[in-house]
Symmetry: C2
Subunit: 272 residues, 2 copies
DNA sequence: CGCCAACTTGATGGCTGTCAAGTCAGGTGG
DNA sequence: CCACCTGACTTGACAGCCATCAAGTTGGCG
């Protein structure tokens, strides 16, 4: 099992317990089930507390965090949350929706560096140079909490728990990236796709959705870019998984029929 | 040009100005020229100040940092600084020497996730789970400064500059990883090796050494693992670069003859 | 001096990229 | 309501890059 995916599952489970949603995911619905109170959307009332920045904070501390999180911002599908080159001022917590991040080269090549869902943090790439180094694009209508970075640093100096948790979030991003490097550097096409599906499955599970059935928000081309493959190769791998009985595919609707089988692909497909 | 390598150069130059070493690198020597005072090895007297954690701190603040950096640790070539699975307690600033980090899968495959040299920080992968998620191995006799992480967090709450700089260091690691993902996901073998050589060249330059001539500390196999290639492919690419007149290679001794030529490989080799 | 790890080089094969054609689903306009 | 159009996807044929297997060479070290 690849580093990323092993670790992401742990990270997810670490924060999983309090959150429960419908047992079956509804394909076209937002990831997080809407309740009336969530429209107020303060950290203290957010059902993503245990996945997001407030993790581990006391009631009092969360209230302080509330004040810091200034605005919410709605991003329509296809729109950019930020672009490479823009000045960095805030990080973003995804409240609802789904994003991709990508890096572009001058010659036109691009690489999707990640897919992010509710409760995950976007924008930390911008801290190092005060300028965003990648693009963040919404893959469905989404909403994010804007967290001005200088304020977050200020509050981190007051609240040790917040400081430590933020460091963990950044570190988790580094570990996740190492997992992707492992995937890109050592795995074959079908292994990569299997790892990708298992990772998505785990992250949906951590959000209260079905591990077996979900809707892909991204195109084959975006999956391919993330996995270092061409879209045709992704498509062929999907087809072969279906032939083998591991999954059923209908366009973007995925149903995993044999999780164990997919996992086996990861451990046993190494060269003899 | 790949993201990592463009950005690493900037990051290096940002801290470059005060540091000057001999114009020509001496192959088997340590990266940092030894002086008598450096044996005392406190941050306030360290000639890596401008590359390392003290960057941007006032004299007074650096003195505080001095106290925090408890021990120095010598690591012989081939020894581990830490291993995946070990409890995380400190991060490490490389004082002299050269390291690699790698991740292992159960089936035996491994992936080198980076090569680190003097002034760079190791161990941030461990923050997220309180456990190291990769191995750090010295590729030559090395010395690191041990920075207990809880103390660093404590001082970060006092000194805003230190806090911000540490966040930048972590963010830089994320951006670097994105560059490697781009490399692994979109580039061909010769492009990858060219990008790798240019990146090394820039980092040696930032440390006062020659951009044209240096000694590789790692084997072809380790380079291959980092670049997602087999060692034979790395060797062939070296040979071809030599045939084309871009570099001269003698085992681990590299001399870059045509930097512009290597750069051109990166921008122009995209498929039509 | 001899051993061994690291490296180089050649021959061959396979995975995945490339090119091309065709299918499907959803949205638009007549 | 249906035909059409477009973007996303699937599938096939072929080729090329890189992995694999296999010698052979070099340099360092005991």
């Amino acid at each position: 099992m690849s580093g990323e995916f092993q670790r992401c599952r742990n990270a997810g489970q670490e924060a999983l317990t309090q959150i429960k949603g419908p047992a079956e995911s509804m394909p076209h619905q937002n990831v997080i089930p809407l309740t009336l109170t969530s429209l107020k959307a303060a950290c203290s009332q957010c059902n993503l507390r245990e996945l997001c920045l407030p993790f581990g904070l006391s009631e009092k501390e969360v209230v302080k965090l509330d004040k810091l999180v200034g605005a919410r911002r709605r991003i329509k599908r296809g729109q950019h949350l930020y672009r490479a080159g823009e000045v960095f001022e805030a990080i973003y917590a995804i409240k609802t929706g789904f994003f991709k991040t990508d890096v572009l080269l001058e010659d036109g090549r691009d690489q999707v560096t990640g897919f992010q869902m509710a409760g995950e943090i976007l924008g930390m790439d911008g801290i190092s140079s005060e300028t965003h180094s990648c693009n963040a694009v919404a893959l469905e209508d989404s909403e994010v909490c804007v967290i001005p970075f200088s304020l977050l640093e200020g509050l981190s100096r007051e609240i040790q728990t917040l400081q430590h948790h933020f460091h963990k979030v950044m570190s988790r991003e580094i570990v996740r990236d190492h997992g992707v490097m492992m995937l890109l550097g050592t795995m074959r096409a079908e292994e990569r796709l299997a790892a990708f599906l298992l990772n998505l499955s785990q992250r949906f599970t951590a959000r209260g959705y079905s591990p077996q059935e979900f809707h892909l928000r991204m195109t084959r081309e975006e999956i391919g870019s993330y996995l270092g493959l061409k879209l045709e190769t992704v498509s062929r791998a999907f087809s072969r998984f279906q032939e083998e009985g591991f999954i059923s595919v209908q366009q973007k609707h995925i149903r995993i029929l044999d999780i164990a089988g997919l996992k086996e692909l990861l451990t046993h497909q190494a060269a003899p």
